[in-house]
């Protein structure tokens, strides 16, 4: 539901990291990593990004989202595994003392320019 404000943040952050010599070069692709546990829905983000990108360096560029699986680590036995369903309990020793290792990402990775 906050995808529009996130889209605007992305454009601001990514825009600020374009070096002077590439200013004006059309952007082809913006690469993101979004964890599956995050409260951002990729489809809505793409929709908002396309609107927010109008009249910026990113107008018409492709938002490429890599979804990151939720990987957990048991703090009792060090076992690591990936979950598809919301169940935060060690599937090896049954402990509920769990750390989320990945799946919370909301990262801007890189910008690809047209040659």
């Amino acid at each position: 539901m906050h995808e529009m404000s996130i889209a605007i943040q992305i454009i601001e952050i990514a825009g600020a990291s374009i070096p002077d010599e590439l200013k004006g070069t059309p952007v082809e692709k913006l690469n993101l990593k979004i964890g599956k546990l995050s409260a951002v829905i990729p489809d809505s983000l793409v929709f908002c990004f396309d609107i927010a990108a109008e009249n910026t360096a990113f107008e018409g560029s492709f938002l490429n989202i890599e979804e990151i699986p939720v990987r957990l680590k048991c703090l009792s036995c060090d076992h690591q595994w990936i979950i598809e369903e919301p169940a935060f309990k060690c599937d090896s020793c049954n402990s509920g003392s769990i750390e989320v290792i990945s799946g919370r990402e909301l990262d801007i990775e890189s910008i690809e320019f047209q040659d």
Binding site: V40, D107, E109, I111
Partner: protein, 220 residues
């Protein structure tokens, strides 16, 4: 041609949250972020909680809402200073950001405050993502909502330090399976305590107030 960016989308918010946390620590203010769906009873919980802890504990309240001022007016009647943040900038923003808290907090006298309670916007999704510089997050779930809410909103239940199961005065009139809700909460966050309360009859309030006071003391 590809250039690395390697930055977090929420960098600006997280930076502001760090700034808030430092400020609250310096002023010795304990900050609690209360989150729930609309109508779970956050404002009622606040009114009743303030009735129990004032004037021993000096409180300030920030209420986030999409557009009305009703909640702040309800809180002001308890005698606590309250500030309403309306988040309608984008046709209804769905969470409070660290920046909006920083602005609201600057209108309080933090020197004289022990406890700042933030009632977040009614929503179980987005507020979980935005750090505001709080010490603890409390999720409120009422027994008129589905038992499976913890499974549908896992991030919220992972990120909270306490779950309050509210409106238990209504249990005799419902087919609600409170054991099932607790089982689902355990599946998401086995280490989080759950306290059953009624903000109407004040059942369970002793336990909740004790939890709150302990956490405030721990910070000092």
């Amino acid at each position: 041609m590809e250039i690395k960016v390697a930055q977090k989308m929420l960098d600006a918010n997280d930076e502001m949250a760090r700034h808030n946390r430092l400020l609250f620590k310096e002023k010795n203010v304990f900050v609690i972020n209360i989150m729930s769906s609309p109508g779970s009873g956050k404002t009622t919980l606040l009114e009743k909680t303030l009735g129990r802890i004032q004037p021993d504990i000096n409180c300030g309240i920030i209420v986030g809402d999409i557009c009305t001022k009703n909640d702040a007016e309800r809180i002001l009647k308890t005698g606590a200073p309250a500030i309403q943040i309306n988040t309608d900038a984008f046709g209804g923003e769905c969470h409070l950001s660290a920046g909006s808290i920083e602005k609201a907090a600057s209108d309080f006298n933090l020197e004289e405050m022990d406890l700042l309670i933030v009632e977040n916007v009614g929503n179980l999704v987005c507020p979980a993502e935005f750090d505001i510089g709080e010490d603890v997050r409390v999720v409120v779930l009422s027994v008129t909502e589905g038992e499976d809410k913890p499974l549908k909103y896992p991030l919220m239940f992972r990120e909270s330090s306490l779950a309050l199961l509210n409106k238990i005065d209504l249990l005799p009139y419902l087919d609600y399976d409170i054991g099932l809700t607790k089982k689902y909460i355990t599946r998401i966050n086995a280490e989080m305590p759950v306290i059953e309360i009624s903000s109407k009859t004040l059942e369970g309030f002793d336990q909740w107030i004790e939890w709150l006071k302990n956490r405030i003391i721990q910070k000092k």
